[in-house]
Each structure stands twice: as C-alpha cells, then as structure tokens.
Point group: C2
Chain length 134, copies 2
Amino acid sequence: MTMPALPGVSAHCRKMSSVLSIVGDKWTVMIVMVLIERPRRFNDLKRTIGGISQQMLTRTLKALERDGMVSRTVHPTVPPQVEYALTELGYSLSEPLRALGAWAGAHIEKIGENRLRYDGSGAPTSTSPLPLPR
Amino acid sequence: MTMPALPGVSAHCRKMSSVLSIVGDKWTVMIVMVLIERPRRFNDLKRTIGGISQQMLTRTLKALERDGMVSRTVHPTVPPQVEYALTELGYSLSEPLRALGAWAGAHIEKIGENRLRYDGSGAPTSTSPLPLPR
DNA sequence: CGGAATCCCGCTGGATACTG
DNA sequence: CAGTATCCAGCGGGATTCCG
C-alpha cells in the first residue's frame, strides 16, 4: 500500500500492471494468437489450442468479449454454432504480441543455455525459480 | 528438432508459452522496466517498485539472473552492496515490453469503457472475469 | 454443440523472523 | 543491507457434471 511519489516510474507501472492483467494471462494470449489467422468456433478453438479446459476457454473468451477484443456471433442453426473473431482492438493487441513472439524466437534458446550454465555452476536448487518450459 | 503436423500454430504456441512464463510474471516485468533507467541496489529496487515483498524480489531477481537478463555485482564494502543491472538480453526484452506499454497507453481507456458498457447491459456478474485494475 | 455450475487441489506469493 | 527459511491464505485453474 506504499505510494511512492514518482510520476515517471509509477505511471509506467500502472499501465504495465493494467496490460499485464490481460497479457499476463496464458490463455488470453493463446486465444488471440490463434484467432489472428481466422475466426473459430468454440470447440475448434479448444481443439486447436489443446490443453485448455472448456471452463477456462469460456471464462477467457468472455473476458475478451467484455474488453471488446473479440466478437461473439451466434448462428441459430440446429446444432448451435458460435463464432469468435478478433475485433480491431484485438488485432491491434496482436501486433505487440507478435513483437514479443519474435523476441522469444530470437532469444529463447539463449535463455535455455543461460539456465543450464547457471544451474551447472554451484546452483542453489533451493526454492527452484521459474521452471524451464518444454 | 520439433515440428509435428502444424508448424504454424503449435510452434507459435510453444514460443509464446515460453516467453509468457517470463513476461507473464508481474514482478519480472516491473523489475525490468525499473532497471531500464539505471542499475539499482536491492533495497532501492524494493522501495522503487513498492508493494513487492523482499522474498519475491529475491526470487525474481535470481530467476532473471539465471536467465541472463540481469547481472548481479557485489561490492565488498562494509555494509554489503549489491547492484543489479540489465544485461544486453534484458535490454532487448525491454523493447517489446515498451511496445506493450505503448499499446496499453493507447487502448487501456477504451477497454475500460468497453467493460463498463458490457457490465451495464445484462452482464452476468457470475464468476466475475478478470477484475478491472485501478 | 456451446456453456454454466460445483468441487477441489496445487502453487503463487505475502508476512514474518532469523543470519551473515 | 542483502538474503534465507517457514508458514500459510488465496485463488488459479483442471475435472466433472448438468442444461438449452
């Protein structure tokens, strides 16, 4: 609850924490990335992403719809079909996201090496930090 | 090595989940953003960020050091001084992070409006989705 | 098929106290 | 000052089941 009176830093912090509540979410990013290609239906998304529970898919899609990042279109056919697509806002987010993806592609291997080297030399395996994703 | 049937989607997913384990972390991003300005000492970081426990600061810094994103320099003075600074890798991450920050600055208000409108019209407040940060 | 509601476990991460 | 070690509450999120 401490309020440092630094306009520069804390302003950035506020913005970042705002965007982090969106971007920091694993599934949110996944969904946006997948929807860049083309609109998808619910189970199509579920299958494409793989590893997401329908609960989290529903929640995340609803949050994204709430934020105006994706549109939800219901086709009143016999088996109900619901299509999700990125809005303009959603697309705009995909751009910095792509930048992040590019950074990952360029540096993720290096990071893997760094971790191996760090763990190799007198590594305090103690409260093991961020696990290396595979 | 890699690459089953869908090189496009699943490849991106893998990259993204890797980078998300870094970027998705609130404190990691905070620390990197703060260290962009200049190197800082432990308690300096703690004070500047504000709201982080020293435990999380220690953990996150160690993880960043492990990844080769920040350097840790110990000055063997009477009260021990430890300076943390971004490495080249850390700086390179700060660029896409800035892009994200810029996106946030440009669209975060619009998102706030969208949420209000969505909540206003027949909003299922049920398992309330992502909370609106203030 | 798309989605809501319940249950429940595990890990994240905060508070606190101790050490070099 | 910098860091470690415990303890523990909260909630993120998976599995399952039921509805329109």
